[in-house]
């Protein structure tokens, strides 16, 4: 039996090489995409955790301020050290500084050498040969990568700068245990505090508990006892938060992988269905010879599996290759900007690999299921006499009735799903709604083909066209399969194009609103040098207007990444001049601190304009008034804008990190030159709004490039499905066509009939695909994106892209049917009529 199964599989593959190879490739594509995303993310996370562990050690608890301007008071250190469960408390100050004229910011970690020796041994320094005095005696210790990259020498003098603070010191040694690629400086915590603050405290506490104590319980107890501005966390929370950051992005890529797998399943379906149809007499004969009925089912499933097994194996290989290639080119976040620009090492993973392998095989089995069932129920005697029966005899009417009911239920479920909230930040209901829209589109295919071809049948048509129409009406299965392939692939393409275009249009308009000034200057994560700020205000500086901003962060929920705090020189009476508000703005009440929150923050925490909100600010809990909600496509985890006046009133220090600059009229060129010199002198970034805009849009385009490639693949697969099914349906009618040619139709007329049929089917598929695609695009923009990224945008259907794609598809579909027609009419009529097998 296995010998026979193997013979049949081999014969099937040999006679349908292209179809088989393409189905395999589609399955491989889905598997590889899923596996690659998984590998890359795992490697990036592992990389991140490793780096985290090396600078943080493995404490049982970390106590941190909730906002970037807060600190851990010194008194708390003694209090915690006095707790009898505590073995060790390590105070740490982490800050970012600039080293002399080196144009990048470097992380500086201040540690207490005795506690660090036990908790964070990788941070322990090695004294350079040339230095004198005790370890940590007012010197800097640099990681080997930093020394190499910046060409620094142990023993050389160094100037450490942050905002207005300077520290003249020297490089006293290196950090031998630090992994390659890690650029950081270590110094004694007292020196760091003396020069860069915080004055009355430290940046964070890392706590190691006595052996046998219960860390979680301990953290819970202390969470209640801590002063309001502080959070207590487990070390592992950091990795979890990072994983959260990239999750939405990953989920979307995974959906693309799923789509690829589903199109693979569809290709297997189309290939196997036509294969079953073409071989119906062969299977009937085998049945007559005594092939057990269940083997007619299994054989088709085997063939599906024979596509899935090598396809999935190839997919794993490709996925591994892709993961390695992508991380080389784009880094661990595929250009998403979530992880530092490191290149993680990709290692193949057995269990997830097996999972994706099974998924690939499952998809191809799924595709083979219906054809296998159809093959199983073919009536043997009849199949031998007249060939493939598209419909199981005597089942038509109840099935159609049931289908109508099912369609109604599906249609009713969609609005319901759309209104459901995200589960754990994942828009699962939205994805289900998308799947249902596609199901609905496919299920509408029979109705639509009947409508289109029924209307045609009533029209007065030339004979060849009449034959084509009649054929589809009599035997609609192949037409429906061909149409469904196009429906799905065109719907996916239209939806993706729509989603991307909506997003891009919205981003474009948003950039206009948030970049009012011609020039911007910023210094990533540390205050701008005081020298520069002074220079820019001198009367000879070519600027008419300057707006300053300070950035910080605050944590509203310890399980989520922190939100950005933007302190801006903004007019409290007219914030709309600078922020693109999504709704009404409420005037700031006199004497109350007012903030304007971004859409993401509003969605995550369910905020309203006009309500009061408690924010951790400057180590305190401050009640603020929400004056409005503004759109922000830049900070996915939310942002809070506050005026400098309000921030100063709270007692905050306004340390400028960003500048918006308007040159004096007429001195645009002078301004450009001025900025270029100053930026180079202080090693900071300066950009024109046009550049920022161009770069932003190009990053956007780059991160969606993958989707364009997948759209192209989907369209090819859809077209191929059309070609395969048309060719098969023509092939099945070879005898009929030969009869017609014996009756006096010439080849050209027959070919025209087939092309006409293909065009009509393609039109039906494209129309339904367009409708489904716009619906899916709307769900993506209005449901999935807001739930996954908390970004809203208006729907924008790019007809200038959709229509050309539709026309090209139609043309390609007609070409495919022409090819099918040629194949069929090339057979000598006499041979076909003689029934030669």
């Amino acid at each position: 039996m296995t010998t026979l199964a193997w013979w049949l599989i081999r014969a099937q593959f040999l006679s349908r090489r292209t179809a088989t190879a393409l189905s395999m490739l589609a399955i491989a594509l889905g598997v590889s995409l899923g596996y690659a995303i998984h590998l890359i993310n795992d490697a990036a996370l592992a990389d991140f955790s490793r780096a985290m562990k090396s600078v943080q050690g493995e404490p049982d608890a970390i106590i941190v301020p909730r906002d970037s301007a807060g600190h851990v008071p010194l008194a708390l250190i003694d209090e915690i050290a006095g707790d009898e469960s505590v073995a060790l408390v390590a105070p740490v100050i982490e800050t970012r500084v600039r080293l002399g004229r080196v144009p990048t910011a470097v992380k500086l970690i201040g540690i207490d050498v005795f506690s660090a020796a036990l908790l964070m041994p990788t941070l322990l320094p090695r004294e350079g040969a040339a230095t004198s005095g005790g370890i940590f005696d007012g010197g800097l210790y640099a990681s080997p990568s930093l020394l190499d990259d910046q060409g620094l020498r142990v023993g050389a003098g160094a100037t450490v700068i942050r905002g207005e603070s300077r520290w003249e010191t020297h490089i006293a040694g290196d950090l031998p245990a630090m992994a390659a690629g890690e650029a950081l400086l270590v110094a004694d915590i007292a020196w760091v505090q003396a020069h860069f603050g915080p004055r009355e405290g430290v940046g964070e506490l890392r706590v190691r508990l006595m052996p046998g104590s219960h860390a979680e319980a301990w953290r819970a107890v202390w969470a209640k006892r801590l002063p309001p501005g502080l959070d207590i966390r487990a070390a592992a929370d950091n990795a979890a938060r990072i994983s959260n950051i990239s999750r939405a992005y990953r989920v979307n890529l995974n959906v693309l992988a799923m789509v690829a797998l589903l199109t693979g399943a569809f290709l297997v379906f189309a290939t196997q269905l036509t294969a079953v149809a073409q071989r119906s007499t062969q299977f009937a004969l085998l049945g007559v010879l005594g092939l057990p009925p269940r083997m007619r089912l299994l054989q088709v499933l085997f063939e599906g599996l024979a596509i899935g097994l090598p396809g999935s194996a190839l997919g794993l290989l490709l996925g591994y290759g892709m993961a390695v290639g992508f991380t080389r080119v784009m880094g661990g976040d595929l250009g998403g900007g979530f992880f530092a620009a490191s290149t993680p090492t990709i290692a193949p993973e057995l269990l997830p690999g097996l999972g994706f392998f099974i998924l690939g095989c499952g998809a191809s089995l799924m595709g083979a299921l219906y054809p296998a069932w159809l093959n199983r129920i073919q009536p043997l005697a009849q199949a031998l006499k007249t060939g493939f029966a598209q419909r199981p005899p005597g089942q038509a009417s109840p099935a159609i009735h049931g289908r109508r009911l099912m369609l109604l239920a599906v249609a009713a479920a969609i609005p319901l799903l759309i209104s459901l909230p995200a589960i754990d930040d994942l828009p699962l209901a939205g994805y289900a709604a998308i799947a249902l829209v596609l199901v609905l589109g496919i299920a509408a295919a029979p109705v639509a083909t009947n409508l289109a071809f029924g209307a045609m049948a009533r029209a007065a048509l030339p004979a060849p066209l009449r034959i084509a129409v009649q054929n589809v009406l009599q035997a609609p299965l192949m037409a429906q399969v061909a149409a469904s392939g196009l429906i799905v692939s065109f719907a996916l393409t239209v939806s993706m194009v729509t989603m991307v275009a909506s997003f891009r249009t919205a981003l474009d308009q948003w950039l206009d609103a948030v970049l009012p000034a011609p020039h911007y200057m910023r210094s990533k994560g540390l205050p701008l040098p005081a020298e520069l700020l002074a220079a820019i205000e001198r009367p000879d500086a070519p600027f008419a207007r300057i707006e300053r901003m300070a950035t910080g962060s605050l944590s509203l929920d310890p399980r989520r990444p922190p939100a950005a705090l933007l302190v801006r020189e903004i007019d409290r009476a007219d914030p709309g001049a600078r922020l693109p508000f999504t709704g009404a703005v409420q005037a700031a009440p006199e004497g109350r601190i007012t903030v304007w929150v971004s859409e993401a923050l509003q969605e995550v925490h369910g905020l309203r304009t006009g309500q009061a909100l408690h924010l951790p600010l400057l180590g305190r809990d401050v009640e603020v008034h929400i004056g409005g909600v503004w759109r922000d496509y830049a900070r996915q985890f939310g942002a809070v804008v506050m005026s400098t006046g309000d921030y100063r009133a709270l007692g905050g220090r306004f340390e400028v990190t960003d500048l918006a600059l308007w040159p004096r009229p007429g001195s645009e060129d002078a301004a450009r030159r001025w900025l270029a010199t100053e930026a180079a002198r202080h090693g900071i970034e300066s950009a024109e709004s046009g550049d920022i805009r161009r770069i932003s849009l190009s990053i956007f385009d780059k991160s969606f490039a993958v989707t364009y490639a997948l759209e192209a693949a989907a369209m090819l697969i859809g077209l191929f499905g059309l070609a395969v099914t048309l060719a098969a349906s023509v092939w099945l009618r070879a005898r009929e066509l030969a009869t017609l040619s014996a009756l006096g139709f010439d080849r050209a007329m027959l070919a025209r009939a087939v092309v006409f049929e293909g065009a009509l089917i393609a039109l039906v598929g494209l129309a339904l695909g367009l409708a489904a695609g716009i619906a899916v695009g709307a769900i993506l923009t209005h449901v999935v994106n807001p739930q996954a990224f908390h970004w809203r945008m208006p729907l924008h259907v790019p007809w200038n892209q959709v229509l050309p794609i539709a026309l090209a598809t139609l043309a390609a579909g007609m070409l495919a049917s022409r090819f099918a027609a040629r194949q069929a009419t090339r057979l000598p009529a006499a041979q076909v009529l003689a029934g030669a097998q």
């Binding site: 039996m1 010998t3 026979l4 013979w7 049949l8 014969a11 099937q12 040999l14 006679s15 007499t281 062969q282 004969l285 085998l286 049945g287 007559v288 010879l289 005594g290 092939l291 057990p292 009925p293 269940r294 043997l380 005697a381 031998l384 003689a834 029934g835 097998q837």
Partner: protein, 220 residues
Amino acid sequence: MLSIVGLSKRHPGALRPLFSELRFAIGTGEVVALVGESGVGKSTLLNCIAGLELADAGEIRVGPDALDMLRLDETARAALRATRIGFVFQAFHVLPTLTVAQNIAIPLLLSGVTPAEHPARIESLLLRVGLAGFGPRWPATLSGGELQRVAIARALVHRPALILADEPTGNLDPRTADEVLTVLLERVRDQHAGALIVTHSQHVAQCCDRILTLTPDGLE
């Protein structure tokens, strides 16, 4: 080899039964011709005997221990065909994607004959139907008469108790038809199988041991 008692069949939706209360038997080594007007139900009768279609009532017993086809489920009917029945069609039905030898090997695979025996059995049958050396060839390169001889070899290779043939020479010219029929009759007789051959040819019918005529009123 075959005994039929009280067999009736009416197609769904048909006004009157095609045949009812049929009764006949075929003995070991006996070759019976079945003739009758077109549309009278000859092919249907053959299909019922092979278990491809289900009769409405009656008994169909095949083989030495006389298993009743009507009492078996679909899988068991397939197994019965695989072991006890050989089928020959008017339209040859040789699988184009398998070689001649592979086509003939199908019944051996289905009836579970040990693979070691296959080559010898196939070769000797090919020799006896006059196709020595044709094993590795593809069906597309064979003539109609040769294809039908492949089909005959395939129907006999697993030594079935009963051969059913539906107009086996209908697609062949008279001379080739004669050759093919001779081969078929010789092989059936030297394997001591029973055979039921549907035919429109007077000549073919004459070559058989017995002639049954199916009419709307029954067998004559």
